[in-house]
Symmetry: C2
Subunit: 496 residues, 2 copies
């Protein structure tokens, strides 16, 4: 791929000036159109060291209104990022709809020797990496993001020349380190690695654009032309397409048979004495396992879904009660904020993923996409249908990082819910817990049931299986969740 491209191509100053005439104005105008159309643009800069990013970035940004773009640099992996799945920091900094985000280096870097891992990735890690990255890009693209991937390509001779020049001047010598020199020395091997990376990540409707960068004028012109071309095409495509995005989703088949919820025995009970004894036992156990998680630097994510009044809050409370409070966070999920609505629905969850050694407990979660958003029509059919695969991929990314994932669906029957609603309505201290919306949701029981069945069927994976917890007996449900969590954690931590 890269070896077919000649980075030494040049353009005369005069031809450059002529070709650039009007392009800067065009770029400024397109920024306004992006803002008006309300989609995010993500421009990624990758390439050789000393390929001239420092000169090219201003050429791109000068014509733009600085209030509506943002530049993020991802050179070094800092502590916060190193303790989370590698895509975390790229998720966190995603531009909002209508804005242009420029990433100076991107997630692709992780696959290369200059990336997160000093010695490069193993074959297995490499496979996971490409799977995760391609799924991530697909999710963003399907959500309407325009991703423009630029690779700045310089020849070995030119790179060497630039390093020499930088090193001559004491004021710039620090900008060349041994890894840079190494890159030049092993230019051909690196060329292959870059080519492979681009080949494996150039699909998904998000191709790489190689910018020949020996000549800075040629590079600037090509960069601006590529960006203008992609933005114009994207605006054109949006006008041509249905607003719901790609519809070619294999998941759009018949509803799966209801088999998850009916299989749960809701009549089982636990005695008060038995409950007390087991609660103490498992709370102590999970507290010990919590310390072990910290020592082993493993992170854990709990997802709590279930019917209104199914006992999520009480269950979470018993789960966390004896955990070291410095090690976990409970994240209650309500209606999304404006900031959250202006980005991919997964954004607000991915940015809150726990650090290694810590636990995050989501009280409702990203599964809202295929439950409440589906039932209430807040997501289009295309959107919630493709969400199954998006969610599976996002969870696989956590799993690949080493995160342990629990997904509990607290199940109660309709009679039990009614009993609890009435009990709450009668208790002045609990009355706030029950709203008109709860009653309205109850009327849609069948629709929610159908959504739950499909969600359980499509997103229960080997690496992140669902557990449907029988919830009519609250106490029993708490023990079920705790016991299950302890068992999995013991296995994962090699204690069982």
């Amino acid at each position: 791929m890269l070896d077919k491209i000649d980075p030494t191509v040049t353009i005369s100053r005069k031809d450059f000036k002529a070709a650039m005439a009007g392009l800067e104005g065009k770029l400024a105008e397109l920024q306004q159109r992006v803002k008006a159309a309300g989609f995010p643009v993500l421009i990624l800069f990758e390439g050789w060291s000393a390929a001239g990013k420092g000169l090219l970035l201003p050429k791109l940004l000068n014509p733009l209104d600085p209030r509506y773009f943002e530049v993020r640099t991802f050179a070094k992996v800092n502590e916060e990022a190193a303790m989370r799945p590698f895509l975390w920091r790229y998720w966190r900094d995603l531009p909002a709809k209508g804005r242009i985000g420029v990433y100076d280096r991107s997630w692709h870097r992780t696959a290369l020797p200059q990336g997160q891992k000093k010695r490069g990735l193993s074959a297995r890690e490499s496979e996971n990496f490409y799977q995760d990255v391609n799924a991530f890009e697909k999710t963003l693209i399907d959500d309407g993001t325009l991703i423009i991937k630029l690779f700045l390509h310089v020849s070995r001779e030119e790179q060497k020349r630039r390093f020499d020049e930088l090193r001559k001047n004491p004021g710039t010598a620090w900008r060349v380190d041994s890894a840079d020199l190494q890159q030049n020395k092993q230019y051909n091997a690196n060329l292959k690695k870059f080519s492979q990376m681009m080949k494996k990540t150039g699909g998904n409707g998000s191709p790489w654009h190689i910018i020949e960068a020996d000549d800075k004028h040629y590079a600037a012109l090509k960069m601006i032309r590529v960006i203008i071309g992609r933005i114009e095409a994207h605006i054109g495509n949006r006008l041509a397409e249905a607003p719901s995005g790609s519809n070619d989703n294999p998941a759009a088949t018949a509803d799966p048979a209801a088999r998850w919820l009916p299989a749960v025995d809701l009549t089982e009970r636990i005695s008060k004495e038995d409950y007390k004894e087991k609660l103490t036992f498992y709370q102590n156990k999970i507290s010990e396992l919590g310390f072990l998680l910290y020592a082993r630097r493993r992170s854990v994510v709990f997802v709590y879904e279930g019917w209104d009044a199914s006992g999520k809050g009480g269950n979470i409370k018993r789960l966390t009660q004896r955990l070291d409070p410095r090690g976990y966070e409970v994240i209650p999920i309500g209606a999304p904020s404006a900031d959250e609505l202006s980005r991919c629905y997964l954004w607000r969850f991915m940015r809150r993923m726990p650090k290694d050694g810590h636990l995050a407990i989501f009280d409702r979660s990203w599964y809202g996409r295929v439950m409440v958003e589906r039932v209430e029509g807040l997501a289009s059919e295309a959107e919630w249908r493709r969400a199954y695969a998006e969610i599976n991929a996002a969870e696989r990314h956590l799993y690949n990082h080493g995160t342990i994932i629990f997904k509990f669906f607290l199940h109660i029957d309709k009679d039990e819910q009614l009993r609890r609603f009435e009990e709450r309505a009668a208790d002045p201290l609990k009355r706030y817990k029950i709203t008109d919306e709860d009653w309205r949701n109850r009327d849609k029981w069948a629709a929610y049931e159908k959504s739950a069945e499909e969600m359980l069927a499509r997103t229960s994976t080997e690496y992140a299986p669902w557990l449907v917890v029988a919830g009519n007996d609250k106490r029993r449900a708490r023990i079920t969740a705790l016991e299950y969590a302890c068992g999995v954690l013991e296995r994962e931590l090699g204690k069982a």
Copy 2:
């Protein structure tokens, strides 16, 4: 202070159980009342090493609903925090209204040898520290936050005993480091330091509560009693008080005479040639200074305020055009989000303060509090009156850290504004820039003028002075801002 307290006091198990009866339920009920009343509670844990926080925190948190509290640990200063003013990370993690935030260690730690600086603070740094901390707490308290400061006190013998016990067990030995042992060895000297810290930060209606912690039952009981007492008193005070907060603000005096805006000569012009030449000159200069800022690890904050259509956007664009885009961020400020409204008005700005070596440019800023919020009645009189001192203190905190602060007020006259409004309305590409609100604001010119005068008079400080920029000639205004910025930066960086 601390030396008057006997940490060895005990309580029998039986008396403890009797005294605790009902207190946990009370705490749970108060959490609901905090939520309903909608004020933030901040509980700070400080104290000796091995004072038993690990046991006390669960005692506090067990009765609470984990969805409405959050625990933050501030033991180590990580990279992100080390490159910013020391209060930044405490600002960033403030709980929202109605929530309880528990800080495991707090900003007070910074003053102690275990804090940010290995060798403790110099006399000057110490003075700045206490000034900054007390102003910070006052701002939060006046905003309605209940701050409860707990100091866990153990005797020298008990601390020694706990260290010995931890070190005996290979599973816990790592929890005792040399700094801990040092603390015990120099117990009396540390006692004095803690006492001094508490004396200097115990005012502001936010006293320290010393928890005698040799006996864990005694400690738990006292901790819970203190917290219940403070929350109950706070709810009582809120009911008794006017909702606008403290009104004893010395700033509530006569309006200052209008002297800032009339002093500006709006007739001065710059020729197009002169402009081009100076623009290139100063843009190159500030670009060089930007690299020097990075090398010297100095951060810079720009505030742009001014009339609608006074040219802020264009001015910012010229300021940033040749800066390394990886080194600055432009932050446009609009109406606050729900998240932002649920915290002190300064929160959304403080959390975005630039890292050392970087620039942040605010297009409108915290001065909205004393401009638009004052004029439109979005802040009460007590709120905007006390904001002058709050803002001055917040800026002084940045200054104490080493941040360079620019505050530009772009001034145009009413005729010029009308001319620009009409021009915008006539241009299809610029029409979006002008809204009904702009016309409504224009009708309140006199009120805004008065607010601007008072703002300039009360918040132009030695460490963060205002520059009123004559804006009728846009080009001239750009050169004025750039030239001024270059001059100050050269002085600050020792280049002039």
